[in-house]
């Protein structure tokens, strides 16, 4: 009797571990159109109404628990926001001048060929689920292909980039955030106060690079492959670069969506370590805008 129990227990363990490893191997080996991915899409579709209902029902509980954590963080956040407000006031005047110059330059350069946000139809979606670990930076939203959402559609919050749609079912979609380890975004550095005469000496501004994440650190991004000979300073802003003229590959993200602010630059001559703080509060998202081309658009 004892031997039988032991054998059964060990067999169950071996079976479960073997199944897990088989799933892991098969999942890695198949394409996005493979059977396991299809099963995941089916489960996402089946669970999305339940998740949406649970999300709405548990909102008061979530807010109550969140209130305690927010209270701890509010004081520090208030001080940093005051400092930011002062800085933005100073920059506001200069931005007016820069915008006027921008309008003139756009007219001169036939800017209409570039992709602009006005070409998109934003779809508002509610965040209904997110993973508990920092290893996956994804969210699930309550809009899917029936709302015109397609894979790779850019997702923003306010005016800041959040990520892109990575999987879609009929009534839900998964968004991979810019802090996910699989995410890469071509970006351009916008010097603070660009257009101001006082910064005109920075003729080497406008560096480009690729924004990637530091896995395990959801509050920080890095700017990799920064163009040589271009300066980047702490406080500079970073926005999507869009598709470079003459490039063979079209960028998924339209030009000019704000990504974040440079918080640290380490330049030892041989390499540059540029860190960014994303503008979007990626761990506190409740609603996002998915930039679609409208229902029936090609995927």
């Amino acid at each position: 009797m004892y031997d039988k129990t032991v054998r059964r227990r060990r067999a169950v363990l071996l079976l479960l571990v073997g199944l897990s490893l088989a799933l892991l191997t098969a999942y890695f080996g198949e394409s996005r159109r493979g059977p396991l991915h299809s099963v995941q899409r089916g489960v996402l579709e089946a669970f999305s109404p339940i998740q949406e209902g649970a999300n709405r029902a548990l909102t008061p509980v979530r807010d109550l628990i969140g209130w305690f954590g927010d209270t701890f963080e509010a004081k520090g956040e208030r001080d940093s926001l005051r400092a930011e407000l002062d800085r933005l006031r100073q920059e506001g005047v200069a931005e007016g001048v820069a915008q006027a110059q921008n309008r003139e330059l756009k007219a001169a350069l036939d800017y209409s060929s570039q992709l602009e946000l006005s070409g998109f139809q934003p779809v508002t979606a509610r965040v209904i689920a997110r993973p508990p670990t920092v290893w996956f930076s994804t969210i699930t939203i309550d809009r899917g292909s029936t709302a015109g959402i397609r894979r790779d559609a850019p997702v923003v919050s306010g005016e800041a980039l959040v990520g892109k749609v990575s999987e879609v079912s009929a009534h839900a979609a998964q968004v991979t955030l810019i802090t996910d380890h699989t995410s890469s975004v071509t970006a351009r550095v916008i010097p603070v106060g660009a257009g101001r005469i006082v910064r005109a000496s920075r003729a080497d501004s406008g560096a480009t690079g690729i924004v990637q994440t530091r896995v395990g650190d959801p509050g920080e991004l890095v700017l990799e492959f920064v163009s040589e000979g271009k300066s980047v300073f702490r406080g500079d802003r970073v926005a999507t670069a869009g598709t470079s003229p003459g490039s063979r590959f079209e960028s998924l993200f339209p030009v000019g969506i704000a990504i974040g602010e440079v918080t640290k630059v380490d330049d030892d001559g041989a390499s540059r370590d540029v860190r960014l703080r994303p503008y979007a509060d990626l761990r506190g998202l409740e609603f996002v805008l998915v930039l679609t081309r409208g229902p029936g658009s090609p995927s």
Binding site: R9, L13, I50, G69, P132, T133
Partner: protein
């Protein structure tokens, strides 16, 4: 230790509710920048109350549901949580800890195994992550939240499973105390 059909049904319902509450509510609440993860705690409680086989099966089921609903790499959470459920169940079967705070210690251990196991598998799968202070803070924060939530989660799982538990340690000890007059037969005069 064999589970009745009713206990199995309750375990399946518990696994589904755990995953839905986890991903729809708890993952969206951050306390000092760290989110609570009750999945290892529920699996720990099942392993502690119902044994290693039930713990391993619940761990596999909860992990599979998490991976499916969140579009994560299939098999990762299942593997980690199976180990948690089986390990806690075996500990209970071999040592049978009677201390009231045993679920708290096991909850912290289960959270630690889940966090470190998940990180190790991610490293093995080639995710390039620095061993940063933020990552350490996430793990330590998760352990602290695990310690806070372990006892309530254990009490909740015990309530949900109720009389369907095949061999409830508390009932067994109460029965032993009654039949032996509260003392071991060896120490009786």
């Amino acid at each position: 230790m064999t589970l009745s059909a009713r206990a199995t049904a309750r375990l399946v319902a518990l696994a589904m509710v755990t995953v839905i509450v986890q991903i729809a509510a708890l993952s969206q609440v951050l306390f000092l920048g760290v989110g609570a993860d009750v999945s290892p705690l529920v699996v720990m409680a099942v392993g502690f109350l119902a044994g290693s086989v039930a713990g391993a099966l619940t761990g596999f089921g909860v992990g599979l549901l998490v991976d499916l609903t969140l579009f994560q790499t299939l098999g990762v959470s299942s593997l980690v949580l199976t180990a948690v459920g089986y390990g806690v169940g075996r500990f209970r079967e071999l040592r049978d800890p009677a201390h009231a705070l045993a679920p708290l210690a096991l909850g912290v251990a289960a959270t630690a195994v889940a966090q470190i196991g998940f990180a190790t598998i991610q490293f093995l799968l080639g995710v390039d992550a620095p061993l940063s202070s933020v990552l350490a803070w996430q793990i330590l924060g998760a352990l602290a939240l695990g310690a806070l939530l372990a006892l309530p989660v254990h009490a909740l799982v015990r309530t949900v499973l109720g009389r369907d538990l095949p061999d409830d340690p508390r009932s067994r000890r109460r029965l032993r105390a009654y039949t032996t007059g509260g003392l071991s037969p060896i120490s009786r005069p």
